[in-house]
Amino acid sequence: MPPDPAPQNQEERGCALVTGASRGIGAATALELARRGWPVRVNFREDEEGAREVVARIEAEGGAAEACRGDVASVEDVRELVEPGEHGPVLVLVNNAGLRLDGLSPQLDDAQWERVLDVNLSGSFRTIRQALPPMLRARFGRIVNVASIVGTKANAGQANYAASKAGAIGLTKTVAVEVARRGVTVNAVAPGLIETVLTEGLDGKLAEAIPVRRVGQPEEVAACIAFLASEEASYVTGTTLTVDGGLSA
């Protein structure tokens, strides 16, 4: 079967939603998707100023975007975030919203455990569940979950974060095979050490352990996400693309 024809005007078909897009990998991804022609919903939970800056940058480059407040831990918020709007349904979904609450396992309390799982893993499930039906109807959809190399490689002090990211990889694979026959792909990226607020305060010597000898930039992850979200990636589904400068090689 031939692949779907490439959309000439994505904005006539639908839009992209990037969760946690007010900064870091999410912001870089929103910018990159906009450059590729998608109207973008720039989701934020608290950092409205950051989200508005991202929107302004997209608009300055001639793209379309809107800042959308919403917490992926809330079913109601997710419903609103994914609701079809003036640019149509969400056809590209990037689940990037996430947080870290680190501690060695004996010292992690239930609240730290549950909050990280609720946002990083359950949040992705909620957006996927809500976004899929219109994608199935459109016979086109791209879902990219932002996991982490910590989902496959141990990192002491991050049991909750690791479990959430390993869960995201399992979620990715399973949903991918469920919907593959409808032109909807589901993939993950697994960033290594990327220069964002989530990696602030991590040991600077870690860079020495990375084969490329530096931390990654959000734009380097965004480029991979944009590829997985592209028409060209139509035969890539259920996979996790590691973006870590060779750290886990």
């Binding site: 899929l132 039906p133 199935l136 109807r137 919907v179 026959r181 409808r182």
Partner: protein, 82 residues
């Protein structure tokens, strides 16, 4: 957008939806089983979306897991809308 729910309207919507999903219109009847029409679980998810768009009725996995025939789908939607 929701419209008034009559059994005839639900039947029309379900039939149109099944045709959209690849079923021959001539094969449609209330007695036809979903299996005989080659309607699989993912098709049912789509049909549920069509029903939700048209009537504002949400059909979840538990609702449709025991549904066998087209007639049962129609009855389910009418009952949920009532």
């Amino acid at each position: 957008m929701t419209t008034e729910v009559s059994t005839d309207k639900v039947e029309e919507t379900i039939y149109d939806g099944l045709v959209e999903l690849g079923t021959e219109r001539s094969a449609l009847s209330r007695e036809a089983t979903l299996e005989s029409l080659d309607i699989d679980s993912l098709d049912l998810v789509e049909l549920a979306q069509i029903v939700e768009d048209e009537f504002g009725v949400e059909l979840r996995g538990d609702d449709v897991k025991d549904v066998r025939t087209v007639g049962e789908v129609i009855e389910l939607v009418v009952a949920k809308a009532g």
